[in-house]
Symmetry: C2
Subunit: 418 residues, 2 copies
C-alpha cells in the first residue's frame, strides 16, 4: 500500500477525471458502494482466487471466550471484508437497488479494491479500478458500447491506437470439446492455454502432455495449432473468425462476435476495426460465460484492462438471471503511460516572502491572485531559493514573485519559474 | 454504510470537485494515504474515543492455535485497521515523507473514513472527510489561510455567509484555572461546558454541581456566566475577546486570536470579519493544543465542520515537534445543503429506439452525438415512454430523440425533456 505525494496525486486525479467524464458521455452513470461487503457475499465462490486474498474485518466486541470458540471457524471472527473487485459489489448493488434503475443499467465504478497479495513489482495491495458494466442487455450492442467507450477514453487520455483482443468462453468450450478433452480436465487445460503468449505452441503441448491430459485430444490440438496458416488478426470479421477456429463453430457464437465488430465499426465511422479475435484468449475469472476482452496498446507489452460477460452472477444475488457484461481499465497500469497535457493549466504562483511581512499583507496579496483565477502558495524565503523554486515547479507551479513588507499588488513582479 | 445511486453520486462528485479545486487554488496540495494503517498507530491514544470505533482487520493466515492463543490479546488477531480520521494518517504521512515536502506543507485530503458507530440519523459508518492542514507554521497566518480557504470554498458551493466560531484550548485552561477547578476534574468540566448551546447556563451549573466539581470554582464560574453583559460576537477583535473573558487573559493567546482576525480581514478585503470568538467552544478531540474552530452557516443549526491546532501530534510519530493546524469540512453535512447549479450542464440526450434498429445504426448515431459533446444514453422504447423519460430526467438527461430503423443523423429530432 502506498502514500501518494502531491505530484502523483494530482496526476492520478486528472486521469480519473478524464475517465469519469468520457464514461459519462457514453451514457454510463456512476454509482458507489461501501468498501466493506458482508463476509458471506465475498466468499460465495464467485470471486475465484481473489476470495483467498480478501482482507477480513474482525467482528466488534468479541470477548476472549468468543475468540476461543471461533478458533475452528474463522468466519465466526469476521462479518465484513474489504472488496477484492468491483463486480461482486455491483451484482449485490443491482439486486438491492434494481427498482430504481433503468431497464438497461450502464454503471460506472471508479474506486479502490484490496488484495492481500505478496508484494511484487507492479502489484499493490490497494489499487484503483475503473469499471463500466451493462446490465440487462444480452445483445452484442452491450459489448460494442463498452468497447467504444473504453477506446474513446484511451484516446481522450492521449493513448490512441488501442486494440481490444476478444474471444468467447463458449469458443474455448467448443474447441476443447472438438479436440476431445474431458470435461473435468478442461479448467487445467485452460490454465495451460492461457500461457500461449509466454511459452508458445511447443510449450503448451509439452505442458499438456506433462499434465497427463487425454492424449488423442492433445494430438488433435497439436495438429490444429501447427496447421499451415498464420492467424490473421485483420480484417476482423466472420471470415477471419471462422478461419481461426476448427470447422463447425456454432453460428450463434460467431454471429455475436461478428455483431460486436459491426457495431464498433459503425460507431468508429468505418476504417480499421480496433478488434482482434484471439481464440486462445482465456481470462482467469471463472464467472465469465460469454465474450471476454483484453485491452492492448502499442506502448505496453501487457494488458491494460479487460472484462467479459457474466450472465450468471447477478442471479446468485437476485434469484433471477440478468445478462451482464463489463470492461475494466487497469488504472494503475495506464496512469504512468498517460502523457502530460500540453495545454497550459491555470496560472500557479509562488509568493516568496520575507520573514517580516505581516500576515494580513500576505493574505491580501494571495486573495487578490486567487480571485483572479490563480493557484497561490506562500513560501517564506530560505537561503536556498533555487531549491525552493524547483520544488514548487515539481508541484506544478509556473511562476513566482518576491514579496517584502509593504509590497503592493501593483508592484508584484510575477516571473516565470524555470 | 450506504449505496449511492447515480443522482446522488453525481451530486457528491460535483461538490467534491469544487472543494478540491478551491483548496488547490489556495495553495494546498492533495495527498492520499492507504485506507488501512497499522493497528498500533491507530491505537496509540491519539484518536480519543474514535479508537474504540475502529474497524480492525484480521491477520491473514491465522490457524486455530494462533486464534486460541490470541483470545486474551485481541491485538494479536489484528495488525491493520481502517482509519477513523484523516489526522492520524496525515501525521504518519508527514513523518514518513517529510524530506520530499515543502518547509510549510499545506495538505488536502479528500477521502472516506470508517467508524463502527451505532446506526443513527445523520451518522454513517463510512463517510467522506475533506481536510486541509498546515504543517510547519506556528503563526496565526496558518489559521488564517485555513479559514479563508474554507469560507471561499463554501462561497464557491453557493453557501455564502458562513462564519467560523473560534476559541483556543489555552483560553479554556486559563478560565478553568482562574475559577479554581482542579486539574484532574477539568476534562469532565469541559465535557459539561461543551453542552452550553444545548442546556444553557442553568443546565451547565446544575450539571457541574451534580458532578461534585469544586464548589467555589462552580460559584466563580456561575458569577462569571451570569455577569451583566451580553456576549458580543461583533466586531471580532481584541476588545471583544477581552470582554468575553475573565480579567488577565494571557497576552500571547489573545494576540494569536487577534492576528487570525486581522489576516482574515485583509484577505477578505475588509468588511465584516466572518469570525465569532466563543470562549465556551470546546471541541471533543483531546489532541488539540491551541486554536479550535467550528464552521457555522445560516442554513443549518449544526456545525458544518471544524478543526484546530495539534502541535503535539506529529512529534509522536517523528520524534520532533512540528506545529500543525487543520480544518475539516463536514462533507456529509454540507452535501445536501448545496444548491443545484443554475448554469446548464452539457447537453444530455436519450435516444429512444425501436427494438429492431440494428446495433451499428444506433452506435453510429450515439457516436456522432458524443463526438459533438453530448452525453448520450440508449433506451429501447417501452410501453410507458413517460416513465422512461422521467427516469432519464432524474439522471440529468435534458433532451431526447426517437430512432426507428434507418433514421439518419440529419433526420434526428432532438426535443427537450421538459
Amino acid at each position: 500500500m502506498r502514500d501518494f505525494l502531491p505530484a502523483d496525486k494530482v496526476r492520478r486525479e486528472r486521469v480519473l477525471a478524464v475517465i469519469r467524464e468520457r464514461y459519462r458521455a457514453h451514457g454510463f452513470d456512476e454509482i458507489e458502494t461501501p468498501v466493506m461487503e458482508e463476509y458471506g457475499r465475498l466468499h460465495a465462490g464467485i470471486g475465484g482466487d481473489n476470495e483467498k486474498l480478501a482482507y477480513n474485518v474482525l467482528k466488534r466486541g468479541l470477548d476472549a471466550d468468543a475468540i476461543r470458540a471461533a478458533a475452528d471457524d474463522a468466519a465466526a471472527l469476521t462479518d465484513l471484508g474489504l472488496r477484492y473487485d468491483l463486480t461482486v459489489p455491483l451484482a449485490r448493488f443491482y439486486a438491492t437497488n434494481r427498482g430504481q434503475l433503468p431497464g438497461v443499467f450502464r454503471s460506472i465504478q471508479i474506486a479502490p479494491v484490496w488484495r492481500a497479495e505478496r508484494p511484487q513489482k507492479g502489484r499493490y495491495r490497494q489499487f484503483m479500478q475503473c469499471d463500466i458494466d451493462v446490465i440487462g442487455d444480452a445483445s452484442a450492442r452491450a459489448e460494442a458500447e463498452l468497447v467504444v467507450a473504453t477506446l474513446d477514453t484511451l484516446d481522450a487520455l492521449g493513448l490512441e491506437g488501442g486494440t481490444v483482443r476478444i474471444n468467447d468462453r463458449r469458443v474455448l468450450d467448443f474447441m476443447l470439446d472438438t479436440f476431445g478433452f474431458a470435461v473435468d480436465e478442461r479448467p487445467g487445460v485452460l490454465i495451460t492455454i492461457d500461457k500461449l503468449d509466454k511459452i508458445g505452441p511447443d510449450g503448451i503441448i509439452a505442458e499438456l502432455r506433462d499434465r497427463g491430459a487425454t492424449a488423442p485430444a492433445v494430438d488433435a490440438f497439436e495438429t490444429f495449432l501447427r496447421r499451415p496458416m498464420t492467424l490473421e488478426y485483420h480484417p476482423y470479421g466472420e471470415r477471419q473468425i471462422r478461419k481461426a477456429l476448427p470447422e463447425g463453430a456454432p453460428d450463434d457464437i460467431v454471429a455475436h462476435l461478428v455483431g460486436i465488430g459491426e457495431a464498433v465499426a459503425a460507431a468508429r465511422g468505418g476504417g480499421d476495426v480496433p478488434l482482434a479475435f484471439d481464440p486462445f484468449l482465456v481470462r482467469g475469472m471463472g464467472y465469465y460465460t460469454g465474450t471476454i476482452f483484453e485491452l492492448a496498446h502499442p506502448s505496453a507489452d501487457y494488458s491494460l484492462g479487460g472484462g467479459g460477460r457474466y450472465d450468471g452472477m447477478i442471479g446468485r444475488f437476485l434469484g433471477q438471471d440478468v445478462p451482464a457484461v463489463g470492461f475494466s481499465i487497469g488504472f494503475e497500469r495506464i496512469v504512468d503511460l498517460v502523457p502530460e497535457p500540453t495545454d497550459a493549466a491555470a496560472p500557479a504562483v509562488v509568493l516568496v516572502h520575507d520573514r517580516d511581512v505581516p500576515a494580513g499583507e500576505l493574505l491580501a496579496l494571495k486573495a487578490a491572485l486567487v480571485g483572479d483565477g490563480s493557484r497561490v502558495r506562500l513560501e517564506q524565503r530560505t537561503k536556498n531559493l533555487k531549491a525552493l523554486l524547483e520544488r514548487a515547479a515539481a508541484d506544478g507551479y509556473t511562476a513566482f514573485a518576491t514579496v517584502a513588507a509593504g509590497t503592493r499588488r501593483d508592484a508584484l513582479e510575477i516571473k516565470p519559474l524555470a
